[in-house]
Amino acid sequence: MTHVVTESCIRCRYTDCVDVCPVDCFRAGPNFLAIDPDECIDCAVCVAECPANAIFAEEDVPSDQIKFIKLNEDLARNWPSITKTVAPLADADEWKDVKDKLQYLER
């Protein structure tokens, strides 16, 4: 049971989602956030917070984003916890509506 951060987050990383999480399940990478599937309790409050609409319940992940389910799990294992909002990445607004950003993911 989990929610999943998808491609839209890459190079934006607004972090609005992390403040509302009751169980501190977000993990921060250089230009992407991941949800630790072992911690997420599916409360769904983060979904509405994301300016890039990047977060989905596992069952609702769009078909072209399915790989992000495994990616969240793998990345969350090694990234540090983030529990307070920080400033978005510098060009977040320019990248918000860009598609096919997986190539830019930094680990």
Partner: protein, 356 residues
């Protein structure tokens, strides 16, 4: 309570109501059933009451409990325990419900992981996000050693005497067991992925003192691989913050990564499940597709569901009224107010106030 709870000669408890989950909604379910003179048994997988309020965010303040401007999850739990005191519920903690089966007489057989057995007329599932299970170590092949050389909980500390132990984790469980087993085990290494610890500062200080005295060791890093020989785990590979992987021989690995919720066996009881939530048939009774089994709080779903504690309280009230006909088929159930009803005052064990 007027209705009796009997324990059969076979050790099976005959009950009117069994509540699964001792979170805030499960506790308030005791209260609502109590006002209808229904005594409840409460089962929880954790050794303490409070559910996710206590397990996941005990110190985070809650602001949306009606008439309580602010309280922590722990305070909410303590207040609910006080509130349900008159109804004398029986708690069965540290056990998970493993079996629920409809009997021919219409009641349910219910069993827990520790062997407690019930025959009950009704069941209230207030299981929130599921039962809390130890978070596991994710290393390929490690699961084969669980229960033999890999442990996520300690039942019998004496089995670790004389062993070379590696204890993983940075919380209270990891530190407490490390401190406890130093001197009894042959050697103790505490392995944590970073320098800061969630455990109580006093335990961390004690651990560091033991390390300074060469009575135990602290390593910073993560388990990234294992080696085994003849089905025996011989060493783990530990990758440190410097990126270097080192080999560490050991007898036994204890892992304390905290708990995470899992829906567990609830999925196997023939209940209708929608997106991992129990679907209730209507919002009049919050009954599931199995008559006699009710679902309240975060675990249920229905159109417009909001996962709020206060919604769970409301659901518990209506579920109690919905369940009453199964327990007292002959009795007409009337709603009464705790302010004015002498009958409820008697149930609550309070004086009926007199006004001039």
């Amino acid at each position: 309570m007027k209705n009796k709870q009997t324990t059969l000669a076979t050790g099976v408890i005959e009950a009117d109501a069994v509540i699964i989950g001792a979170g805030p909604v499960g506790l308030f379910q005791v209260f609502e059933l109590g006002l209808l003179e229904i005594k409840a048994h409460v089962i929880d997988s954790l050794p303490v009451v409070g559910g996710q309020c206590v397990e996941l965010y005990p110190d985070k303040p809650i602001y949306d409990i009606p008439a309580v401007p602010v309280c922590t999850g722990q305070e909410l739990t303590d207040n609910l325990l006080k509130q349900i005191e008159p109804f004398d519920p029986t708690f069965h903690l540290g056990q998970e419900v493993t079996l629920v089966e409809r009997r021919e007489d219409g009641r349910f057989d219910l069993e827990t992981s520790t062997g407690t057995r019930f025959i009950t007329k009704t069941i209230f599932i207030a299981a929130g996000v599921g039962s809390f299970q130890p978070r596991t170590l994710k290393v390929d092949g490690i699961e084969a050693f669980e229960g033999k050389q890999l442990f996520y909980r300690v039942k019998d500390p004496s089995q670790f005497e004389g062993k070379n132990l590696v204890i993983c984790g940075g919380g209270d469980s990891a530190l407490d067991w490390a401190l406890n087993l130093v001197g009894k085990a042959e050697s103790v290494i505490l392995l944590h992925r970073r320098e800061d610890f969630r455990a109580a500062p006093a335990s961390v200080a004690k651990m560091k003192e033991l390390c300074d005295n060469y009575e135990m060791q602290l390593l910073i890093g993560q388990v990234t691989g294992i080696e085994s020989k003849d089905d025996v785990l011989t060493e783990i590979k530990v990758t440190g913050a410097d990126g270097v992987t080192r080999r560490l021989p050991l007898d036994t690995l204890l892992v304390f990564f905290g708990l995470s919720p899992k829906l567990g066996p609830i999925a196997e009881w023939g209940l209708e499940i929608e997106r991992k939530q129990l679907k209730v048939m209507d919002t009049e009774k919050f009954e599931t597709n199995v008559p006699g089994i009710f679902a309240v709080g975060d675990i249920n779903t229905y159109p417009g569901k909001k996962k709020l504690i206060l919604s769970g309280f409301h659901e518990a009230a209506l579920a109690a009224f919905g369940a009453a006909p199964y327990i007292f088929p002959e009795k007409k159930i009337h709603m009464q107010y705790t302010t004015t009803s002498p009958k409820l005052h008697k149930i609550l064990g309070v004086e009926t106030p007199t006004f001039d």
